[in-house]
Structures are given as structure tokens and as C-alpha cells.
């Protein structure tokens, strides 16, 4: 029941917001997300790490006519993502205490954030394919409105592109689910995972996998289906960007691991080489795009394409090392990129621009703390050992060094080398970014302008992410210890 409560809390907050006057909105938002976060910490305590498997489940018949169940459960793969979701939502609510873009209206804004949280949590908790699909879709509408109503100048274009791409992905996802259902007559993810695709003929497996794979690839996003992401990120308000990068993208990779690879292992082996190649193209392509960006949010968006490429590469190896790495890189990207978007949002609030040339350097001189934090986050993002970004990407490449049996080793070795080149490019563009934004002298036009350094509310919203960046870098077992058992069970079953 604790999982149902986890979904009901933000929903109750959402209802409360609609009923309460505008001036209470921010406090209700913080209260609802804080209690949800608290509850997810309780989950950390309640989860039995030795037993593994799905825990704390709820399983009720919902639509018996089609065998659709309200089935929730938690395992080592979903637990870190659930905590990440509640944490980021809470921090977003805290951040909104002081900062809210035009046109204001905190009530509507926070109601959408809470609805988004319900959808995100539900996606990570659902153990029924159709329920998963429902939650996966619930996310779309609030994110659309966050971009379309509180976004930048080209918000309408970006929001439409976002919804069209993701809807296209959803349709493919639904078709994949229906193919599985047509052959197995069940939506139960636990049972399907246990059977490991044994009920499906090979052709049907491949067809279902293709649908699921493309559906999740749009969300992740995987090259060449990524083109909605830079627009969405550039136009979205800070909170929208943070949740988009921090959680929404993870829904794609999570689905890939939880559904596609688990339930259709044979097809996964067929598709793994393609997935690996596309992942590495994404890494290189993302990095090259970053080198020529003038818009700082767009740059981070492209860097997300690259980072998610590492996640996909880890999954493509189909080894425990690779999949663990993918899950770790998932969480690390959520923390680090979430932080980066917060920081860039803060820059934009002060400079009223996200153009690198317009800001023109000297942030360290103008606002030393902000500049320092930006440097820290960028270095974490480029994968400096000892910070969060390092382990996931490192281990993903290690996984590619020894891919699962049946996969072409030469191909994966090549991919590993190319991914290595990608890490170098990543370092290059992030260092260039730092040189152009944080270092240097303050340009003439900003000299006279006065704006404050990091405020206490901002610091409060960022501190947990800063701490996590450090902790995950120094002690990756925090995540790997949780995921490892679940991953081995998953791959062993196939």
C-alpha cells in the first residue's frame, strides 16, 4: 500500500492546489513533494536488499475483461529512479518558492509538476504493461503545458514538436505491447519477464521488440530520433528542463531494460548490435553538436543525447556490468544534468539570456559561487573520476569490452573505442564552455549591472544534488549495490 500512497500523495497535492488560493500554492507544492520524498526515503528503509525481486507490491484486478491489473511493485532497478524522481520534484518545488517564469500562476504550474510526478512515479512502479503505458502517457500532457505556457519565445513550436514525437513513440510502444498481448494474452510484466518471451514466435518477438524499442528510443532519446529534445530543452522553463532531463529521459531507458530486454531476450540479442551502433553515433553526434552550440541550454540538451548514448551502449552489451552501468549512468545523469539545468536557469535569471556569446565570460568574477558551482557541475558531467559522471560511462565501456555471448566482439570493441573518443570530445566542449562562460573578464555591458550571487533558496534546492554528485562519484556502490541483484536476476532469467 505504501506504493499507492506514493502515487496518491502528489495527486492529493494536485487536488489541494486546485482548491486552495494562489498564495498558498507554493507552500502546498513544497509540502506535497516533501512528504512524497519522505515516503520514498521510507521505501529505502522498507526495501529488503537481501531478498531481491519485486517488493511492496499491490496487485488488484482493474479491467478483468482484458486482464488489465493495477499492479505495482518495486525492485532494485526501479528503486533508485523512484528516489531520484521524488528528490528532483521536491527540489523543483523548493526552487519555485522564489523563481517562477512568466506568466506566473504558481497554482497551475505546481499542479502540473505534481501531475507529472504521479506519471513518472507510476511509470517506474507499474508492473502491468497497460498500466505502464497509461502512466507513460500521463506524463505527456503536463510536460506539454509546462513548455507551452511557461516556455521561452518559440515555446509553441517546441511543445508541439515534443508532443508529436513522443506520441509517435507511444503509438509504436502500444503496438509493441499489443503484439505481446496477442501472443500471451497477458499484460503481467512479472509473468512475462519470467517466461522470457517463450510464448512468442521469433518473428513476433522481433516485431514486438521493434515497436517497444522505437517507442522507448524516442523518449530516451536515441539518435536519430532525438531532434525534439534540443528544442524542448531550450524553450522549457528551468523546472521543466530539470524534470525532462532528470527523469523523463530515464523512462525510455528504464522501459528498454524493464520491458524490452526482460520480456523479449531473444529479440534483444538480435537488435543489440544496432542499438550499440546507434548509441555510439549518438555519443559522437551529440558531442560534435555541442561544439558548435551558441545557446547554453541547447548545448546541455545535446550533451544529454551523448550521455544517454552511454546508457544505451551499456544496455546493448546485455551483460550485468553493462546494464548496471546503464542504470548508474541513468541516475548520475539525472543528478548532474538536473543540477546543470538549475544552474543555467539561474544564469538566465540574471543575464536574461542563455546565449554564450551574450553572457561573454567572467561569471566567476561576477558571481563567484554560481560560477564555481557551474564549473563543478560541468566537470562532473564530463566524467572526471571521483564525481558522479565517471563510473557509469567507464563501466559501460568496460561492458562493451566483453559483451554478452553471441554478440560480435569485434563490433563492440570498435564501439568501445569510438565511445572513448566521445568522452574526449565531451571533455573538450565542456571545457570550452567553461572557458567562454565562467573564465575571462567580465564584458563591458555587464560591468555596471548588479545582480546577486546564489540565494539561499537556490542553494537549498541545489545542495542535495551537489552532495549526491560527490557521493555517487566516491561511492558508486550506493546505486550498484541496489541494482546488481535485480540486473543479474533479469539477465539470468533470459
Amino acid at each position: 500500500m505504501i506504493l499507492v500512497a506514493l502515487l496518491l500523495l502528489p495527486l492529493a497535492g494536485c487536488a489541494g492546489l486546485l482548491a486552495a488560493p494562489d498564495r498558498w500554492a507554493r507552500r502546498i507544492g513544497v509540502a506535497a513533494t516533501a512528504t512524497t520524498f519522505g515516503l520514498s526515503l521510507a521505501l529505502l528503509a522498507a526495501y529488503d536488499y537481501h531478498r531481491g525481486g519485486f517488493q511492496l507490491g499491490v496487485d488488484r484486478a482493474w479491467v478483468p475483461a482484458a486482464d488489465i491489473r493495477f499492479h505495482l511493485g518495486l525492485d532494485g532497478i526501479s528503486l533508485p529512479l523512484v528516489v531520484l524522481t521524488t528528490l528532483l520534484s521536491f527540489l523543483c518545488a523548493v526552487y519555485t518558492l522564489k523563481t517562477l517564469p512568466e506568466p506566473g500562476r504558481p497554482r497551475a504550474f505546481l499542479a502540473l509538476v505534481l501531475l507529472l510526478e504521479v506519471g513518472m512515479l507510476g511509470t517506474f512502479l507499474a508492473l502491468d504493461l497497460l498500466l505502464f503505458f497509461v502512466f507513460f502517457e500521463v506524463v505527456l500532457a503536463p510536460m506539454y503545458f509546462l513548455i507551452a505556457l511557461w516556455g521561452g519565445e518559440r515555446r509553441s513550436y517546441a511543445a508541439t514538436k515534443f508532443i508529436l514525437f513522443t506520441l509517435l513513440g507511444s503509438v509504436l510502444l502500444l503496438l509493441g505491447i499489443l503484439v505481446i498481448y496477442a501472443h500471451t494474452a497477458t499484460f503481467d510484466m512479472v509473468r512475462l519477464g519470467r517466461r522470457g518471451g517463450a510464448d512468442l514466435p521469433r518473428a513476433a518477438q522481433d516485431l514486438a521488440f521493434l515497436g517497444l524499442f522505437l517507442g522507448f528510443a524516442v523518449k530516451t532519446p536515441m539518435w536519430p530520433l532525438h531532434s525534439w529534445l534540443p528544442d524542448a530543452h531550450t524553450e522549457a522553463p528551468t523546472v521543466g528542463s530539470v524534470l525532462l532531463a532528470g527523469v523523463l529521459l530515464k523512462m525510455g531507458t528504464y522501459g528498454l531494460v524493464r520491458i524490452a530486454v526482460t520480456e523479449l531476450p531473444a529479440a534483444a540479442r538480435d537488435f543489440a548490435p544496432y542499438l550499440g551502433v546507434l548509441a555510439v553515433v549518438g555519443i559522437i553526434y551529440g558531442a560534435l553538436c555541442c561544439l558548435v552550440q551558441r545557446d547554453i541550454k541547447r548545448l546541455i540538451a545535446y550533451s544529454s543525447v551523448g550521455h544517454m548514448g552511454f546508457v544505451l551502449l551499456g544496455i546493448a552489451t546485455l551483460t550485468p556490468v553493462g546494464v548496471n552501468a546503464a542504470l548508474l549512468a541513468n541516475v548520475a545523469h539525472g543528478v548532474v544534468t538536473g543540477l546543470l539545468f538549475f544552474l543555467v536557469g539561474a544564469l538566465k535569471d540574471r543575464y536574461h539570456s542563455q546565449d554564450i556569446a551574450e553572457i561573454g565570460g567572467g561569471v566567476l568574477a561576477k558571481a563567484p559561487l554560481l560560477g564555481g558551482l557551474l564549473t563543478f557541475a560541468a566537470i562532473a558531467s564530463l566524467g572526471l573520476p571521483g564525481l558522479a559522471g565517471f563510473w557509469g560511462e567507464m563501466l559501460a565501456m568496460l561492458g562493451a569490452f566483453r559483451p554478452a555471448q553471441g554478440l560480435h566482439r569485434g563490433l563492440f570493441l570498435t564501439l568501445m573505442v569510438l565511445a572513448g573518443v566521445g568522452t574526449v570530445l565531451t571533455a573538450v566542449y565542456l571545457l570550452v564552455l567553461l572557458r567562454r562562460v565562467t573564465l575571462g573578464v567580465v564584458p563591458e555591458r555587464w560591468r555596471e549591472r548588479r545582480f546577486g550571487d546564489v540565494t539561499s533558496v537556490e542553494l537549498a534546492a541545489w545542495a542535495p544534488l551537489l552532495a549526491l554528485t560527490l557521493v555517487l562519484g566516491l561511492y558508486p556502490r550506493l546505486v550498484l549495490g541496489v541494482t546488481d541483484a535485480a540486473v543479474r536476476r533479469l539477465l539470468g532469467g533470459g
Binding site: W62, V63, P64, A65, A66, D67, I68, L130, F133, V134, E137, V138, A141, A148, S156, T160, I163, L164, L167, S170, V171, L175, L178, Y181, A182, A185
Partner: protein, 502 residues
């Protein structure tokens, strides 16, 4: 065939209340001064609510039946099936009454007659759901249809309206003729009109003759006209466009649902033993209906025609489960599940389509042209209506947050797959994807920024007067019903299907 027992008036209380209200409103209209004609709406609504209460009371009790013959069969039944449909018809009529208020007022239609005709049609629907007899079925169907001819042609000044009425009239008469011809063949073969006895007679292998199959096929064709299934659909778009909007809503929801009620009754009670004949026939009709409906809907530029074609396409989805009957032959459980899926889809469809029509009526208040382009930027003008319409469109498309539509489609799909008619499931999946395009294009347009000036129409303030209040209530009712069905679809998905003997 003398009736063996006296009439059970409790069982027929809902239709009696409906017809009583109809007459009451008509007479009342004669005595009320012209400036107080508005009283018709509350009176009609009160009658409908009273009939709902009677239906609810019947639902609380056991199944009943009346008009029984000495031979043992009964012509009129009150069971879960008929009560669910009665509830649907009553609720739909109540919503249509609310939607009609601005139309009646603005176009100075005679309120008393208008309400009288609607309520008579409602009476026919309720008796239709209870009919277990071919004769009563045909009679009820005519009572449903005849008032709608007049309603469709109610805007006498508008030639389109007359065209709508005439087309609808001609096609309906043809459909009825075909239906009666089929029924007479069945009667000739079996010697009975009473469906239980028809089923019993058809169970005899001696009757397996081409003439029996022909009779059954003709009856089905008759109903196919009523539910506007391809290739018997051509009347629908023109009639919808010409008729007053609320009447179009009534036709596409209540009248279509009545057609499905009749179809389910004859197939599952009377012709159950001939599932191998009508199953494949309906499978092909279903595939054609959804494919043609969706493809043509893609090209529509007027919202009412778009909804008309969408309602054609949706009829295809509703027929899908019945198409499995052939392979389910002899497996009663599969057939009953299929019928329950159709029934569930009809209810879901009614709720979401009525909601969409209610929103269209609202918009028509200030943009009577009803072109798709008029919906651009509705979210700025009336945000709540835009949200509601987007929700209903998502339902019709079958995507979250429109869970009702998603579940309806999945249940139908699952019936097709379990019945091992996989090709139909594939056709349906492809169609669902095609349909997404036009539903979502309209939904996206609602939130697009208004392009000023190019429309050439000065922005009109939304009709906030009292005239639009009933429409707002209607939208709210549809939203509540659809949301409830989304969260708990079980309410209608496991209604015990018709018990047959075959």
C-alpha cells in the same frame, strides 16, 4: 398467441413514464403563453429523471419479464442488458435535451414538439432494449426512427436540413423494409417471432437451409443501416451536417446505440446457433467500416462531418468482437465475452461522443460554420471547454488520459485475439493509428495560437448568457461520466450478456 399472464406494469414503468412525459410536454405547450415556453425543458428533464429512478429501482430488484405467451417465451424482458441500455438512452437523452436548449431558443423552434419527438424516440429505445420478439423489435425501431425524421428536418428554412431529413427518411425506410423482409423469412422458417422460440427452432438441423441464412443476413443488413456500418453508411455524414446539432448528437449516440442493442438481441438470443453465418459477415463489415470511416475522416474540413465519419469508424470497432463469433462457435463463453466487449464499447462510445458533441454545440454558439479552422485557439477563448474537448478526442483516439477509449479498444482487441480472428485485430490496430492523426490534429489545433486577422471574423465573446448554461451542464455531465468510466471500466464491462437457448 394469447398472453398467459397479466401485464407487469412495473417492468414497463420506464417507457410509460417517458411516453407520458412526451404527451405531457406536448399538451403543456398548447396552454403555456409563448413567452414561457422555456418550461418545457424542466418538465422533460423531470420526466427523464423519473424514468431513470424507475430504471434504478428495477435494477435493484430481480430480472423480470412480461408479455409472455402460453408457449413459455416472453416478448419483453427486464434484465441487466436492457437496464444498462435504458440507463444509457435516458442519460443520453437528458444530455441532448440540455444541448438543445440554445438551438431551440435561437432558431425559435417549437419547444413542445421538439421535446415530444425526442421523448417518443426515447420511449422506442427503451422498449427496444427490452424486446425479445422480432415484431416488437421492429416496432420499437420504427418508434425510435420516425420522430428523428422530423427532428432532422426541423430547421425548415434551411434546405440542408430538408435534405438531411429526406435522405435519412429514404434510407431508413429501405432499411426497415429489408429488416422486415428478413424477419418474415425467419418467421416463415421457424414459425415464430418470439426470439427464444426462434432460437429453439433454429437448433433443429433440418432448418439449416439457404433461406434461413438469407433471412438472418437481411436482418443484419437492416441493422447495419441503423448503426451506419459500411457499405450502408452513406446517409450519415449528410444527415448529421444538415440536422440541428443536438439532433446529430442524438443520432450518432442514442440512435446508434439503439441499433446495436437490437443487433445484439437478435444475434445473441435468436440467431446464436448461426454464428458461423453471421460471424464472418460481421467481421468483414467491421473491417470495412473502420477502414473507410477513418480514411474519409482524414480529409474532413468541417468538425461535424469529422465526427460523423469518426462515428462510422467507431461503429466498426464495436462490430469487431461480434466478428469472432464464427470461431467462437460452440464456445459460449467466448461469444458472451465478445458481446460484453461490444456492449462496453457502445457505452464508452456514447459517453465520449456525446461529450465531443456537447463541446461542438458550445463552439457553434459563436462560430456556426463549424469548420476545423474555427477551433484554432479555442484554449484561449474558453479554456475549460477546450480541455474537455481535448479529453474527449483523446478518448475517441484511445490514448491516455482518455482511458475510457483506451480500455474500450483494448477490450475489443482482446476479444478479437481470444476469438482467434487475429487479422481483424491487426486491421483494428492499424486503423487506430490512422485515427490518431485526425483526432490529434484537431486536439492540437485547440491549443495553437490564434492567427489574428486572417480568419476575417471579428472575435466574438463566448456565449456566457443563460442560453449556454445548459450546454455547460451537459459538458460537465459527459466529463463526469467519462472520467468515472475511465477509472472504473468494470462498471459496464461485465454486464451479463443476453441469455439465449441456442
Amino acid at each position: 398467441m394469447p398472453f398467459a399472464a397479466s401485464i407487469d406494469y412495473a417492468a414497463i414503468a420506464p417507457p410509460l413514464l417517458a411516453v407520458g412525459t412526451a404527451l405531457g410536454v406536448l399538451v403543456l405547450d398548447l396552454f403555456v403563453p409563448a413567452d414561457r415556453r422555456g418550461v418545457a425543458l424542466p418538465v422533460s428533464l423531470a420526466g427523464v429523471v423519473a424514468a431513470m429512478v424507475a430504471t434504478g429501482a428495477l435494477a435493484a430488484g430481480d430480472d423480470r419479464s412480461t408479455f409472455c405467451t402460453a408457449a413459455g417465451g416472453c416478448s419483453y424482458a427486464v434484465d441487466r442488458f436492457s437496464l444498462l441500455f435504458s440507463g444509457l438512452f435516458l442519460l443520453a437523452t437528458a444530455v441532448v435535451l440540455l444541448l438543445s436548449e440554445p438551438t431551440v431558443r435561437a432558431q425559435r423552434l417549437p419547444a413542445g414538439e421538439y421535446h415530444f419527438l425526442l421523448l417518443v424516440s426515447l420511449t422506442g429505445m427503451i422498449t427496444l432494449a427490452g424486446s425479445r420478439d422480432l415484431l416488437l423489435l421492429v416496432l420499437s425501431l420504427e418508434v425510435v426512427t420516425v420522430p428523428v425524421f422530423v427532428l432532422a428536418g426541423f430547421r425548415r428554412a434551411d434546405p440542408r436540413s430538408s435534405e438531411a431529413a429526406l435522405k435519412f427518411f429514404l434510407i431508413s425506410v429501405l432499411a426497415t423494409a429489408v429488416l422486415i423482409f428478413g424477419a418474415s423469412l425467419v418467421y416463415g422458417v421457424t414459425g415464430s417471432l418470439q426470439l427464444d422460440q426462434v432460437a429453439a427452432a433454429l437448433a433443429r438441423p433440418r432448418l439449416r437451409q439457404p433461406v434461413t441464412s438469407a433471412g438472418i443476413a437481411l436482418v443484419i443488413v437492416g441493422f447495419a443501416f441503423k448503426v451506419s456500418a459500411v457499405p450502408f453508411h452513406a446517409w450519415a455524414p449528410d444527415t448529421y451536417q444538415g440536422a440541428p446539432l443536438p439532433v446529430a448528437a442524438f443520432l450518432s449516440v442514442a440512435s446508434k446505440a439503439a441499433g446495436f442493442a437490437g443487433l445484439l438481441i437478435v444475434l445473441l438470443v435468436g440467431f446464436r446457433g448461426y454464428a458461423d453465418v453471421w460471424g464472418p459477415m460481421l467481421a468483414v463489415i467491421a473491417a470495412l467500416t473502420m477502414t473507410v470511416g477513418n480514411l474519409v475522416a482524414l480529409r474532413q474540413r468541417y468538425v461535424i462531418r469529422l465526427l460523423a465519419w469518426s462515428s462510422v469508424a467507431q461503429a466498426g470497432y464495436m462490430l469487431v468482437p461480434l466478428g469472432v463469433a464464427a470461431s467462437a462457435y460452440g464456445r459460449a463463453r467466448v461469444l458472451d465475452d465478445a458481446a460484453a466487449a461490444t456492449l462496453g464499447y457502445v457505452v464508452f462510445y456514447a459517453a465520449m461522443t456525446l461529450g465531443a458533441f456537447a463541446c461542438v454545440v458550445w463552439v457553434a454558439g459563436d462560430r456556426p460554420r463549424n469548420a476545423v479552422a474555427d477551433y484554432r485557439g479555442l484554449a484561449r477563448r474558453s479554456p475549460l471547454v477546450a480541455l474537455a474537448l481535448a479529453f474527449f478526442l483523446a478518448c475517441l483516439a484511445g490514448l491516455p488520459p482518455g482511458l475510457a477509449g483506451l480500455f474500450a479498444k483494448v477490450v475489443v482487441f482482446s476479444a478479437a485475439v481470444r476469438g482467434e480472428v487475429v487479422w481483424l485485430g491487426v486491421v483494428m490496430a492499424v486503423n487506430t493509428v490512422v485515427a490518431l492523426f485526425y483526432y490529434l490534429r484537431l486536439a492540437a489545433l485547440l491549443f495553437a495560437p490564434e492567427d489574428r486577422g486572417s480568419a476575417g471574423v471579428p472575435a466574438v465573446e463566448p456565449p456566457d448568457g443563460p442560453a449556454s448554461r445548459p450546454v455547460a451542464v451537459a459538458i460537465a455531465v459527459a466529463v463526469v461520466v467519462t472520467v468515472v468510466l475511465s477509472l472504473d471500466p468494470e462498471l459496464v464491462l461485465h454486464i451479463t450478456p443476453l441469455a439465449g437457448r441456442g
